[in-house]
Amino acid sequence: NRGDSVSGSAAAGKPAIGIDMPRADSDFWNSYAQYVKTDITADGLNTLPVSNSENDITKLVANVQVFENTGAKAVVIAPQDTGAIVSTLNQLAAKNIPVVSVDTRPDAGKVYMVVRADNRAYGTKACQYLGKALNGKGSVAVLEGDLTSINGRDRSEAFASCMQQQFPGVTVYPLATNWDPAVGSSKLQTLLAQHPNLSGVYMEASIYLQPTLSLLQSKGLLKPLGTPGHIAIISNDGVPQEYDAIRKGEIDATISQPADLYAKYALFYAEAAVEGKTFKPGPTDHGSTIIQLPNGLEDQLPAPLVTKANVDDKSLWGNNISG
Amino acid sequence: MSDQAEPDEAAQPQVPVVEASGITKSFGATVALRDARISVAPGESHALVGRNGAGKSTLVSLLTGMQQPDTGTLTFSGEPAPAFGNTEAWRSKVACVYQRSTVIAELTVAENLFLNRQSERSLRPIRWKALRSRAAALLAEYSVDVDPSVRIADLTVEQRQFVEIARALSFGARFIILDEPTAKLDARGIERLFAKLRHLQAQGVAFLFISHHLQEVYDLCTRVTVYRDARHILTASVADLGHDALVEAMTGESVGGPVLAKATSAAPESTDVSGRSPESVLELDGLTLPGRYEEVTLAVRRGEVVGLAGATASGNVQVGETVAGLHRTRIGRLAVTGRELRTGDIPAALTAGVGFVPEDRHLQGLVVGRSVAENATLTVTDQLGPYGTVLPSRTRVFAQRMIDDLDIKTPDAATPVGALSGGNQQKVVVARALATEPQLLVAIRPTNGVDIKSKEFLLGRFRQHAESGRAALIVSDELDDLRSCDRVVAMFHGRVVGEFAAGWTDEQLVAAMEGMGATHEDTTEQTHETNDPHDTYSHTHDAKERSRDGGHD
């Protein structure tokens, strides 16, 4: 009977940790899943079978309930719906099971630690980069994620308000895409027909990378960085494909959302929680800051801006991933 | 029934149970009824006759509140008709057996019988056991032997029709409409229905009775109304209107001589009953479809129209369908124009030269949403252009030829077939079968629901087909259809029980179809009048009644 498997017998004595993957069909979350898997082995952790909630909060809740019933002593989740997880958090708190929330900050309910980079900071960083690159003039398209996703919304809102305050000369065209690259590409194509002199693009996720490059290529607008007519493009996530594009000069920059650190510190805090350790707000030993939330703590991991200058930095997770 | 009071004169001041006048109803551009009227006195059996599409069923739908007339007034026993949409109020005035099936296949017999009145009040739970026993009692009145808890889908067509009839008659209405109730019944079924109707007549229930079998009108009704081209033509006492006069009123043409085509007794080689010449277009040898028919041996020669007679459950329809490739048999031999034919393969049958008019045109015959041209050429799409193409021009020409040939009344070849009247729809199905110029035409109940004129025409067309050097097999239980055949093979309970050369009498054939012919077969049926199964006189008498409108001349 196989309640607990992944790790070897060394881990058998340790308290079990339940881990849920938010989805299996995106690059970022797959990298995360891989890091989780290798880190579990490396650290000799005892985990319950890793579950997948397929981007459905009700499945997440169901899976957490299974963790509860199969004796998890800590839970690692990445709730893509920060509201609907609240009652589950309360339920786990009642049973004294600590929760580490990756990537999103639950609206309420007790969390032991939130492990994430600040998504508003992504939007702001992108805005500042583009604003400077365009000298505060021109027009940029934003390939927005889903309006119903908190991360997408944070990025969009931060980007828009930063542009409005710091670079009022830049016109912003928000394009809602529901995280669908085909929709993004088609709307961008329409926008290009309307405003052929578009000067910049902010893609809120790496999924738009290839479609956007293909589109610009076919329109003859894909000029390398530094040549006249270049459209400044900044992406978000930090997957290896983006680094390739940065090296080729096809895009300017990306924001590295640290999948490796997400995995590493999610497991780190889960283990710490099981062992009963506590943390305080303030700077950490790994270059981040823990801040106090109303319902727990948040370790704000660094999300560096990657440009041609630092694209080959070995410490970037996108440079370490298999292949 | 003879002792029944004649309401006519005596009841002059009586208010008619239903009176409609000045009724006009059109569907888009089609005028189905034009200033039509009808009046049925209490206790009267009133027949409504007319050709296909004359507007009879439309009148029925207006009289039962299913549709609203464009103009005209309608009263029941002097009171104005209920509001449109208040179907329950309509139900209390009039009950109806519709032409189209109105039972629900997935529900049980009991529930269908008491649909929408399973319980006295809408919030009172249904008592299923009581309902079933009520249903059983009701069915017993018609000697229909079915379990009330069986789904309708599992019943035979005839049993279903009896459920419909029993349901309509069980409302206790004083006025009942029956739209072609006999079309789906065999002779014995009709007899049972008529017995029941006469019983109700005696209790003073009024009927409006629609049928294409004029003999039934003479048997059952006291007055008759004729519609033609959406108009009221006449209303008269049945006794005062001879058969020819009635047909003349329906068709608008005068009638001379016998109405239906008959086989000329001088038909070629028709006396050579036993011979199986190489000229055989169809040969069946010991063909068996377990549970349906057994060891059927039969031959159809060139130039012949052969009838395959048999009541419901005799297996005759399955034999016809097997020849057309609908069923696979493992026992026995089937050959068309001398070559053995693989059974259960419709395209193979088609290639071998079998044309097929299926039993139910709505279910198996027509693609209702498509045009007349398309339906008529469905079997010959390989002949309408090179390289597997179907050229619209050739389709049109071909279809026009079929339309002219079969005298199909349609605005043009591109009209959707669903917009034709029943008789013309049937002609389209026949056109589809004849389009391949088949060596053998297999037609199952080809004149079902078709008016007297169209019937005559279709039967004539089958004969013409045979006379052009091919052959036809007509599978039917209608004496009119069979009378036009050179030879009739009768089946009973899955076996061939006799063969009749032209010149047979109705009595002989009916007796054979009922298993009381020359052959043994012990028939355990309960005919009320027939105390002694060997009393030929009473048989003849029954058969006369059963034989439909053909029996009079």
Binding site: R2, S51, Q65, D81, S87, R153 | T102, L107, G494
Partner: protein
Amino acid sequence: MAATTDTGVATTAPAAEPVAPRRRGFDLARYRDLSLVPVLLVLGVIGFIASPAFLTTANLLGVAQQSTELSLLVLGEALILIVGRMDLSLESTIGVAPVIAIWLVLPTSGGRFQGLGLLPTWTAIPVCLLVGALIGALNGFLILKLRLNGFIVTLGGLTMLRGLQVAISQGQSIVEIPNSFLYLGETSWLGAPAAVWICLVLFILGGAALAWLRHGRALYAIGGNAEAARTAGIRVDRITWVVLIIGSVLAAFAGILYTGHYGSISADQGSGWIFQVFAATVIGGVSLNGGRGTIFGALTGVLTLQLVVNVMTLAGVPPLWNQFLNGAIIIVALIISRFASGEQE
């Protein structure tokens, strides 16, 4: 879809002979609703083997509670399918109805989400149900009066209502939930969540109405043959309309339970559920063509789907193979139930 061979058999078979075999076929058909029971048993056995936690009260009650919202949608859809219609927009109603209700009752300031404060807070539940009723009535109007194709109208409705919800909630999750919602979503009665009891009662009511009430039976008649139902005096359009409204009200009620259960409404609440709803309803034996199926069968469909997820999690199926197995199991369940019931479709 009957083959010609079958038609002939039914039409003309000698009356006496086929009664015996026919009766057998009929009995099977009567128990068609139970055809998923073997599937449930198989899942139970697998779950038991996979983990000792499977057969605990906590786990089974958990499965039951997680089934509540979906099961209410399935109840509504089953009624609508039986009457011969379809409603895809239920998946949006479950989100938009509570959002509109909360928007109308929340104060104009204070929380993160600002409402209109038009109505007192206690009206939240009735308003939510009323919104559901209005959506159902609108669908009914478009389908029955304007005679638009129901599939596509409700598909458009699905998109439109979801869009409305996004517009009203600005795409954010709303966590300021009225207490009445929370109460329903969180309380336990007699050791089981209130939502489970409520669903059970609604299913029993629905099942009983379909089995023993005249108007309930009318659904089968209408779905089986609307024209024939009309001739029997059944008010086809009115009943269909009422059923569409009931379906939407049930979806709105599912929205209340969902909101209470999860403590918030996200803008994509229920998104993608309609597939699940159809899967559960149809593997539960309700015909897409109307006139066939039972509420109980639909319930076994929901339980099957939920148990599949539960057992897969317990068995530790690798995340990457999750979805594949899910789809494969639906098909296998369909095949098992097809052969268990001995009938097609």
